[in-house]
Amino acid sequence: MSEQQIENGQVATATREIVALDRTTVLRAMLRHLITLQWSWNYERMQALGYLYSMLPVINKVYKTREERITAMKRHLVFYNTNPQVGSPPIFGATVALEAQREGDAVDSLKVGLMGPLAGIGDTIQAILFRPIIGVFAASLALGGSIIGPFLMILSGIFWTVLMVPLFFFGYRQGTGIVTEVAESGRVARITDVATIMGMVVIGGFIPSIMSKVQTPLKFVRTVTVQGQVHTQTVAIQSILDQIVPYIIPVAFVFFAYWLLRGLKLSPVWVMIILFVVGFVLAAVGAL
């Protein structure tokens, strides 16, 4: 009974028949995963059905009897969710390799074990480092009237999509070895740390550059007496502010919004409403 020999992640030894997958089957599975993974995303089991759909070519090749195929399909219909572009391709690649060795249990534990950590890495890199930086670049180009801005976003999407191919083959070649690669948690923490530091330096520069138009037109008139003669001067408040701390108004708005979110625990929608009120009031009194 070969089934009893399976332990999580261990390569079976005795009577297991290993199916050599042909290139077409591997490519079909890879493309199905790449193109459609989340098409049937739902609250109940999220990416599970997309994963099964992508695995179907492999299941059909590896399992000869109908009963085996039903068992394999049911195994993949359990909850699964991770970062689709960075996290899922290596997991899927590894499980394609394991499925060809009929290592069903190893497939399941690998999915469950890696989807959390890889969601964390993928989301950090894409959502905190990559998208904000590209987004600010693209938006500032677009505000200047350039259609290169939107094309930067399109190129970004293509970049992450194309990257799914090597990530898949990385997982496919590693098989269960991918677990040890990812489990070297020190390395993962280092990558996210470096990425976070880079992101923070860039964001520190982005805040004044993107919001540089937020300036006050307010002026005041003062009289000065120079050598007994009385002069009136018009002084722009903005120029005084610039001498103290440049871009103080944009920074103040970011601090204000951050305080509303973090300090007062308001939801982003409420903060947006507050900013609308502030914006309308300041525009009406001519302060901005």
């Binding site: 179907l56 693209a138 801005g149 964001i203 871009y247």
Partner: protein, 263 residues
């Protein structure tokens, strides 16, 4: 902006609202955008891309760019972590650009329409994500019967609730809504236009603030200051700041690993 191509049509020729075919094209674009975001993840749902395409279709690319850019800056830190629902700036950008293009008030109107639309659409997102649950139950049944084609069909059809929850509101808003909304706001008071423009300028503060809540600000705040000083005082360009950022990131890593070796 006169040199830019006007696009497929010119919205200003439609005095009383858009004809059916414009609404259909934009609805199809919304459907394709969201489905291609689910897989392969082409970023066509991004507000900037949607704004550009909508601007091209209705003949006002500059408006599409400014609406899309403002929504992008507003959504800097937003991400569908673990399937969370966030404001739908794709639909907001499409509907806002389309209705703004009808009116000469352009940006103020576009933003005034785009943001409520994006917020309302969170309801549709929840519906789309919930309805798709039926398909996975169908897949359970087919899998138990050993019917692989049934399973495949359930997965591929799963895109329909996702696409339609975007396409239908876009279609209705552009076909039926645009005319009435536009005539209702035909004569915008200047306080409204000024207020929208000013708010558009300060809204990126929210995008940055959301992003900062996801970063370890208390631990790493000096790096924010470095970036700020590079731009505000030293006038370094953003590309220059990015290069310095890479250097600092790896420097910190070197310092840290070195300390670990010596201890």
């Amino acid at each position: 902006m006169a040199s830019l191509p006007l696009g497929l049509t010119n919205a200003l020729q439609f005095a009383s609202g858009y004809p059916l075919y414009i609404a259909l094209i934009l609805a199809v674009w919304a459907y394709v955008g969201i489905v291609l975001q689910l897989g392969p993840g082409l970023w066509w749902q991004e507000a900037l891309v949607s704004g550009l395409v909508t601007g091209w279709i209705v003949g006002n690319i500059p408006l599409g760019l400014t609406v899309g850019a403002t929504l992008t800056l507003l959504s800097l830190g937003l991400w569908t972590y673990g399937g969370a629902t966030i404001p739908d700036f794709q639909t907001g950008s499409i509907v806002g650009t389309a209705i703004g293009a009808l009116s000469h008030g352009s940006f103020a109107v576009g933003l005034a329409v785009a943001i409520p639309t994006a917020l309302f659409m969170t309801q549709m997102d929840v519906i789309g994500r919930a309805v798709t649950t039926f398909f996975i139950h169908g897949a359970d049944r087919y899998a138990a019967e050993g019917n692989e084609h049934g399973v495949a069909a359930m997965h591929l059809l799963g895109q329909i609730p996702w696409g339609l929850t975007r396409a239908i509101p876009v279609f209705l808003a552009v076909w039926l809504g645009a005319g009435p909304i536009q005539s209702a706001i035909k004569f915008l008071p200047s306080w409204f236009t000024n207020g929208m423009t000013t708010t558009g300028m300060i809204l990126p503060a929210l995008g940055f603030a959301i992003l900062l809540t996801m970063l370890p600000v208390r631990r790493y705040w000096p790096f924010l200051l470095i970036g700020f000083v590079l731009f505000a005082y030293l006038k370094v360009s953003i590309i220059g700041i990015a290069i310095v950022a890479v250097a600092i990131g790896f420097l910190m890593d070197m310092l840290r690993t070195r300390r670990e070796v010596h201890v």
